[in-house]
Subunit: 296 residues, 2 copies
């Protein structure tokens, strides 16, 4: 098991993107700075997707422009296509994230093209990134199941991961998008991907839809995974299960990692404060149980 884990904080993007309450640029910047000051070394700050599809992310260019991108913290933004990449470069981003699904049906329904086509669509995006010294992270969604297919084939997960790596992604984040997996499924999936790619380049991305996220992460840590995505307040949702839990909460993850003796560089009380800040801005109770136990 790794001695240290890098937490990739995704609340400002994956966490906020489906929230109905509009969050201002100032509030997003306040959140991002609080997360940075809490010791998080990678914070996904937004996405350059269609403002019609995801209105909450329409001001990502302004967020990026007002951020100080120096200081050793990674601030990736999600980019879906060349048009988004042009906007991202204009705003000055230094890291992007691209994404593909391990489920053919999900790919068709979510982005209206096949898995293969989605990879091809990212080819020029990644070339633009390389030409501009922009780092590229890759997401694979539906690694343990999808809303349309009963079972997602393990070799589809391996194949998409390899393709994203070959495209030039320095890290592949394996996402249980609908939070359907359990620990041995997570372990077997990571083992399969690690059979082809260096485990140091793999990240675990779990949604807590069925309460399994931390147990699944534990199983991934036991396999040697050393990068984990999470969102303060357990923000984020699943469009396929309204009312269900979102991303695993950074607070509960940091508490577990600390108890396991794994270094994260994160200050738990500051992370809790950041989670309480954004939960209050959204008018909701934090889903983090650590936060609930400390702030009740």
């Amino acid at each position: 098991m790794a001695d240290s884990v890098r937490i990739v904080e995704v609340a400002p993007r994956d966490g906020l993107q489906n929230e109905a309450v509009a969050v201002s640029v100032a509030t997003k910047l306040d959140l991002i700075r609080q997360l940075r000051d809490a010791g998080l070394a990678a914070i996904e700050v937004g996405s350059f997707v269609s403002p019609k599809r995801v209105p909450q992310m329409a001001d990502t260019d302004e967020v990026v422009r007002q951020l100080n991108l120096d200081g050793g913290v990674r601030y990736p933004v999600l980019v879906p296509n060349e048009q988004g990449m042009v906007a991202a470069l204009a705003a000055g981003v230094r890291e992007i994230a691209v994404f593909a699904s391990a489920s053919e049906t999900f790919s068709q329904k979510n982005i209206n093209c096949s898995i293969e086509q989605s990879i091809d669509r990212f080819r020029p995006v990644v070339e633009m990134a390389k030409a501009n010294h922009v780092a590229v992270r890759g997401y694979v969604s539906c690694v343990l199941g999808c809303p349309y297919e009963v079972k997602v084939a393990m070799n589809a997960v391996v194949s998409v991961s390899r393709k994203l790596a070959e495209l030039g992604c320095y890290e592949i984040s394996l996402g249980d998008t609908i939070g359907i997996g359990t620990p041995w499924q997570a372990r077997d999936m990571v083992r399969a991907v690690a059979g082809e790619l260096d485990i140091a380049t793999l990240a675990a991305h779990f949604h807590d839809t069925r309460g399994q996220a931390l147990a699944n992460i534990l199983a991934c840590l036991e396999e040697g995974v050393s990068v984990v995505d999470s969102a303060v307040g357990g923000l984020g949702g699943c469009p396929y299960a309204p009312g269900a839990a979102g991303n695993v909460s950074t607070e509960d993850l940091a508490f577990m990692l600390d108890g396991l003796g794994i270094h994260t560089g994160v200050d738990l009380s500051r992370v809790v404060a950041a989670g309480q800040f954004i939960s209050a801005a959204l008018g909701k109770t934090s889903r983090s149980k650590v936060a609930q136990s400390m702030c009740a």
Copy 2:
């Protein structure tokens, strides 16, 4: 890891005891029958404690009297002393649970006597149980921490567990009462106790105060633990952390065990229905994320 796990459902006792909304005998019986019909083979149905201290449990004798105790399901009740044991026997119980703390300070503050004195207090209770062919289960509380002592000594957990076993308890339930532990702490604690007692006689009892319960249970399962306590709806609380989460939810536990390929004999949809039933009776949203994802 065990092929099958016995879930001990504690919602009617540990789950309800601190709830302010009074639950009628009829509702409790309805809940217990739903839990039984869902396949739960051990259901803690109440406690014979002071009605002044725990008013919610004042009607346990009536609950037991109206239950059909036949049918191969265990229905333990918590008994704190000889007076409670007399009442339990009069009601016809066939299994009781006694309890001691691994923390000296917690024992003093919670039941006003030392750990040693609490064990002595249970001696005549267990003798009465044996004389009446009543099975005895033992709880050890504060196995990973307590509200008053920074750290609870591992040898205190081992020593109290052994004493309860020597007293005549057929099973020792190791309780993280304040939900403070993380997976390796849980693993090390179980290993220490299993060094003296057969692991088949140990149960894992986790509160989800900091969201760690399922991950901790996974670590215990990996050590060979095959009995796990839980409560539908994640009912239960921590008097030391108002607003904090309660017992690990039976729904989320059953989902994990099923995914791990471990037999429980439990019908998940019926367990979810029972959890929704009692949550509605209490006027609260279920804390089970599986329930939230299915019932949103």
